[in-house]
């Protein structure tokens, strides 16, 4: 009889709620009971609210058990876990979990499914098929597919990826680079992390495709230091891919050289801004550069560089496999394809939901998220990280679409959705927006460096009831200055959450 496969995620959210202890307990009980199992540490399906999500493969189908703790394991074996036995933790077949089957998985389809560190498993699930196809069809075919897909930068700025790649491909110069931005610092976002922990070779393959398309022989991944488990998984995946000949000189005799260097950040939020990231990759302070020149012309070490977020890059393999038109067929208007939304904060069913653009916030929060974790009414939803506006309940029917969000003074950003219940004090959150900017400002431009500190003081006076109306006007003026005159989005968009609080939740200043 074949060994029973049992899957326990090795992914930060799962591990943060006890997955390692569960894996250890399963190994111990299996040994004690003489059960022949193969324990696979897969990535996560992204349904963080179900973690630790243990699966057992029975007759080729995976049966899920949710929120398993180490103390459940003995009982699970007594209930015949290896044969998918009944137990209060048993959810049923993984492929029938509504949270998962109602998604449009394009970029994250291998996440949870495979062993992220097994190159055999990766190749069994179409791994390196797109890179091989790219070698066969040539770089122009890749550039055309990316252009046709309508893919835009998933890091938050939403710049068309095809145009960026074409610019780098056309830029003169022998040495070009791919710089993958894995400095996922926005609160409420974790899609880059889930992808890198659950399908790291998918990112590696897509980076190689990007290098092939634009003529770059070297890629860098700039990973934030707050993700130590990601670092361990990703560095092993890079080494494995290199050993298998999928990175290095003349990959699979294609004549194309490409390798990846993994760099760690050091706790600076602003290093997620592309030019600050390039400075940091060069070993310097993460201080924002003036643009132009664009990184596509003069990027890392002054060379033409594609700077893309993890999810942007990882979306490309399937675009090459299935064609750009197929991707462009999903989504709405100028927001083509899918976005990995992340449900976070005060939400019952938090996790990753990859869905075509056009779904409304309310559908995501109610249908997928199940409302607040506390069961209390929603007060506000922050979309797009600390620089995103706080959206009031009245606007929850806004479709997730880059332009529709701009129209309401908000932004989709990296797709992080943080829910607050009615106990939230929005004046405190406006203060926090300014305080965070003061802590994280790189200091290069005055509106951001000084404006944020003055912003905290003005908000404090408003909260204290000191000349509230005059200070209101002053805060609006300060927001104007920061927005118009800051060098990058840090100072330029910190006013977004602040203004949204002034506009929709001004009464919270009085009640503080």
């Amino acid at each position: 009889m074949a060994r029973t496969k049992i899957y326990v995620p090795r992914e930060t959210a799962a591990v943060s709620v006890g997955a390692d202890e569960v894996a250890l307990a399963i190994a111990q009980v299996a040994k004690k009971t003489g059960t022949d199992i193969e324990l696979i540490r897969n990535g996560s399906w992204g349904a963080s609210w179900l973690e630790p999500l243990v699966e057992v493969e029975v007759d080729g189908a995976r049966i899920a058990y949710a929120n398993v703790s180490a103390s459940d394991v003995q009982g699970l074996f007594e209930a015949d876990l290896p044969n998918g036995g009944e137990h209060e933790r048993r959810l049923g077949p993984t492929i029938e979990i509504p949270y998962l089957i109602n998604q449009d998985r394009w970029t994250f389809w291998r996440c949870g499914l495979i062993d992220p560190l097994s190159i055999e498993d990766f190749e069994l699930h179409q791994g390196f098929k797109a890179l091989t196809k790219a070698f066969r069809e040539g770089s122009d075919a890749v550039l055309d597919a990316v252009m046709a897909s309508g893919l835009r930068g998933r890091g938050g700025a939403g710049f068309p990826t095809g145009i960026k790649w074409r610019t780098v491909a056309d830029a003169p110069g022998e040495q070009k680079y791919i710089a993958c931005n894995a400095d996922e610092g926005d609160s409420g976002t974790f899609s880059d992390r889930i992808l890198m922990e659950s399908d790291p070779m998918g990112l590696i393959e897509s980076m190689a495709i990007a290098g092939f398309a634009v003529g770059a022989s070297k890629g860098y991944i700039y990973l934030r230091s707050e993700y130590p488990l990601t670092h361990s998984i990703l560095s092993r995946a890079i080494a494995t891919a290199r050993d298998a000949g999928w990175l290095g000189d003349s990959i699979k005799d294609s004549g194309f050289d490409f390798d990846i260097e993994l760099h760690l950040g050091a706790g600076s939020y602003v290093c997620g801004e592309e030019t600050a990231m390039l400075e940091s990759l060069e070993g310097k302070k993460g201080i924002v550069r003036f643009k132009p020149p664009l990184p596509a012309h003069e990027g890392l070490f002054g060379k033409p560089t594609v700077v893309n977020n993890v999810v942007t890059l990882a979306s490309v393999a399937n675009i090459v496999n299935m064609g750009g038109e197929r991707y462009a067929g999903m989504g709405v208007d100028r927001s083509k394809g899918t976005l990995a939304f992340q449900l976070a904060g005060n939400i019952k069913r938090g996790g990753l939901v990859e869905k075509s653009f056009g779904i409304t916030l309310r559908e995501l929060i109610d249908d997928f998220g199940g409302g607040t974790a506390s069961g209390r009414p929603i007060k506000a939803v922050q979309v797009g990280g600390p620089l995103g506006a706080y959206i009031p309940v009245e606007q929850l029917d806004t479709p997730l679409d880059y332009e529709a969000f701009v129209d309401i003074g908000a932004m989709v950003g990296h797709g992080g959705i943080v829910v607050f219940d009615d106990t939230a004090n929005m004046a405190e959150l406006a203060r926090f927006a300014m305080e965070f900017c003061a802590i994280e400002s790189c200091g290069k431009c005055t509106p951001c460096r000084i404006g944020s500190t003055r912003g905290v003081e003005v908000v404090d006076r408003m909260i204290a009831g000191d000349q509230r109306e005059d200070n209101y006007d002053l805060l609006v003026e300060l927001c104007d200055t920061m927005e118009d005159a800051s060098l990058c989005a840090m100072g330029g968009m910190t006013p977004y959450p602040v203004r949204s609080v002034l506009k929709y939740f001004a009464e919270d200043f009085a009640s503080s």
């Binding site: 930060t12 959210a13 591990v15 943060s16 709620v17 963080s48 609210w49 973690e51 996922e184 610092g185 926005d186 609160s187 409420g188 976002t189 974790f190 992390r193 934030r224 230091s225 707050e226 993700y227 130590p228 488990l229 760099h263 760690l264 950040g265 050091a266 706790g267 600076s268 939020y269 940091s280 990759l281 060069e282 070993g283 310097k284 302070k285 993460g286 201080i287 070490f301 992340q342 449900l343 976070a344 904060g345 005060n346 939400i347 938090g350 996790g351 990753l352 974790a373 922050q382 600390p386 992080g416 943080v418 829910v419 219940d421 939230a424 959150l429 926090f432 965070f436 802590i439 994280e440």
Partner: protein
Amino acid sequence: MARIDQETTSEIVAEYGSKPEMLVQVLQTIVGRFGWIPDETIRQLAEELNLSRADVHGVVEYYHDFRTAEPGEHIVKICQAEACQAMGSRKLTDYAQKILAMSLHDTENDVTLEPVYCLGNCACAPAVMINGKTHGRVDETRFNALLDDMRGSD
């Protein structure tokens, strides 16, 4: 934690090919192993990487991760970002400061308590990192249990 010696500093610099553009990686490796960067190490790095002391000092000062004072044996970070705030991280932080009898950024006895802005565990908030491991869904009871585990592993 220990204090890095001259020889180990040179070894780490060599590991990164003695390239000045690897300064952030060199410093991150030192902090990962020793927890902090003493003043004499800044001088040595400047010399070995052919940078000015001001360059190295500037980089060390710029990044939150690069401590210039020796931390406690245990480093406890509590997430202060919005998603964790939505799940009560402010109260948890108050509680932590009370039972550890210290403020954020302080080192007392064997513990350094620090704020962190997002651990990427926003669907399992509030999140805490203890000695490099992230924990989710941390309430006061669980925080106490984590501290017990932390001290138990001494």
